[in-house]
Symmetry: C2
Subunit: 361 residues, 2 copies
């Protein structure tokens, strides 16, 4: 087992990475110090891992809430369902919430923990590759609004993250690829050596080689933890973690959070960010092709969804959280391993990029 | 004009207290540095002060949202209305929200600011005595849930508080009394000299003597700022600010946030806390009578609302935010000017106190 610390002063916490961690009673018991515990999970994950988690908490007052699968669950309505359950069971401010699931469960549970009685403890038990390498780490919690993704949320840190690599064995192939989009992102934004390792090992990852997966998760978490420690609330450098996300979120909103997984939209978004970087003269065509190639090998889309239009893309990008007083900011690449934050991208250039990937639809 | 600083490191902010501050363009302009501004107010306050505030922001992109008056507005539904308005107008993360109103508008706006895109700036312009001396200061933001008051919220500080004492002139009498409940509370929990001053000057305050009001607001804000600086997230001493609130919130919940103003419920709650302190041997009967007397002079209820039952009181108190793993904590008085946090109050004793004030109904 590897332990990575996210260094945030009195909000610091450990990420545990290793095989069969869910079967290890000692880790969860170390962090659940309250009597009252609510486990939030979904209908897909519950049959696999809920009983295992429950068996480690037999001496607690445990409630479980099994929510529908999918991005639609990240809503104010489901937040209200969680709060109601907590209140009906008279859960006090010392209780602990556990998120057992992917990014949707983690983001929703984290936001519920941030809000309930102005803040209670929560633990992330991510069960998808994407959640293990990205959404469970760093304290970004949120629900969606019909007009924009993650528009209602909080920066709120868990007290620990338990990333059991054995759960990847039950992950559907599309979910594995979606997770790899964020893994590739870390290489692109700040870790050239890791990107080169990924180029050599991408087929091992797709074939779920446990040692390769463990290394990829570890490198991803180390990269994320370093960025978050530097800038917890995204006032500066943390924005680089959003490479491809301005495009990706616009795609997801256009598809009403259906059809594509978050990581799939980000995969396509990474390529669009690379293309825009090329149009600005940062990257050469060969590098864009290298990025397209690794995304394809990872099983990610390299063209936009046929239902997404130019108009929808432009409209949805305007409410991006990185916009400041109406000016849109983009995270782009100066080279592989070096991200840059840019403003004032010309609309024509942006349209060229969007159009290039639309036209293949 | 007096300026009191709430000392919270990089979240520190000033409270301005004085006459006709709403007519002073320089204060608001100093703090609103963004182009996009949303003013949130209600239908009662808007006719009095909205135009005045708007005239000071003529060079900004200002949206206004006028909500219904009353505690029912502090809901997830109204949070969603605010978020929708922000998104429809493409407000970015650099925007500023201004709460123009009493505690309901302030708590709701503050929570919206805490959540929108994970946090935007907000300014409190409290227009009731209660909001000026209590709810606008200290960063407690929240909305209600049908099963409990302030159950969904955040600790989130404003960037400034502008307390214009001239607005008290248009305040209904009941609202003035409600504000005095919190003013009296500061004397009771930590400022004996101020309590003695209040005993001598309570009729001046009821008669809206401007100098007396300004002094009472200033002493209240100083007391609150000192407590909040010591314990921002209520892990310890800040709990003393909740004297009377466990009872008061139970009353409000029983009345479904109707009939009584928050401060009226707190007025009655202060007396019940004093009575329970007497039953535990902390206060003598004469002191309880002194407290009852000043509450009566302030125009506050000294018996529970006739619609509230023993059962409702006990039930509602169980989900109090001060409960820890099922044990109920009470803020009580050791003497006037000295609050104490206690646990494990015997249910019979609690029932005696509740019963005493019910029986007068």
């Amino acid at each position: 087992m590897k332990t990575i610390n996210v260094e945030l002063g009195d909000r610091s916490y450990p990420i545990y990475i290793g095989q069969k961690l869910l079967s290890d009673k000692s880790i969860i018991k170390k962090h659940v110090t309250s009597k009252q515990v609510l486990i939030i999970t979904n209908e897909v994950i519950a049959p696999y891992y809920l009983d295992l988690l429950l068996s480690n908490l037999s001496d607690k007052q445990v409630e479980t809430l099994i929510l529908p699968d999918g991005e639609k669950t990240k809503s104010l309505e489901h937040l209200n369902i969680i709060i109601s359950r907590l209140l009906k069971n008279k859960f006090s401010r010392t209780c602990t919430l556990i998120a057992l699931g992917g990014g949707v469960v983690g983001d929703l549970t984290g936001f519920a923990a941030a809000c309930y009685q102005r803040g209670v403890k929560f633990i992330q038990v991510p069960t998808t590759l994407l959640a293990q390498v990205d959404s469970s780490v760093g304290g970004k919690t949120a629900v969606n609004h019909p007009l924009g993704k993650n528009m209602i949320g909080a920066f709120y840190q868990p007290i620990s993250v338990i990333a059991d690599t054995s759960v990847i064995s039950t992950l559907p192939g599309r979910e594995l690829s979606a997770g790899l989009a964020e893994v590739i992102k870390y290489g692109l934004i700040r870790d050239k050596k890791f990107f080169e390792w990924l180029q050599k090992n991408i087929s091992k990852l797709i074939n779920r080689d446990e040692a390769a997966l463990a290394y990829a998760i570890e490198r991803s978490c180390i990269n994320k933890a370093e960025v978050v420690a530097e800038d917890e609330t995204e006032s500066g450098v943390r924005a680089i973690l959003n490479l491809g996300h301005t495009f990706g979120h616009a795609i997801e909103t256009a598809l009403e959070y259906k059809e594509w997984l978050h990581g799939e939209a980000i995969g396509c978004g990474l390529l669009m960010a690379a293309d825009l970087s090329y149009r600005l003269g940062y990257l050469n065509e060969a590098t864009v092709a290298t990025i397209e190639s690794i995304l394809m090998e990872a099983g990610l889309p390299v063209k936009n969804h046929p239902r997404v239009t130019m108009q929808k893309m432009l409209e949805n990008m305007k409410v991006d959280k990185k916009a400041k007083d109406g000016v849109l900011y983009f995270i782009l690449l100066e080279s592989i391993g070096k991200a840059v934050i840019t403003a004032d991208i010309k609309t024509e250039m942006l349209e060229e990029t969007i159009n290039k990937y639309l036209s293949r639809g």
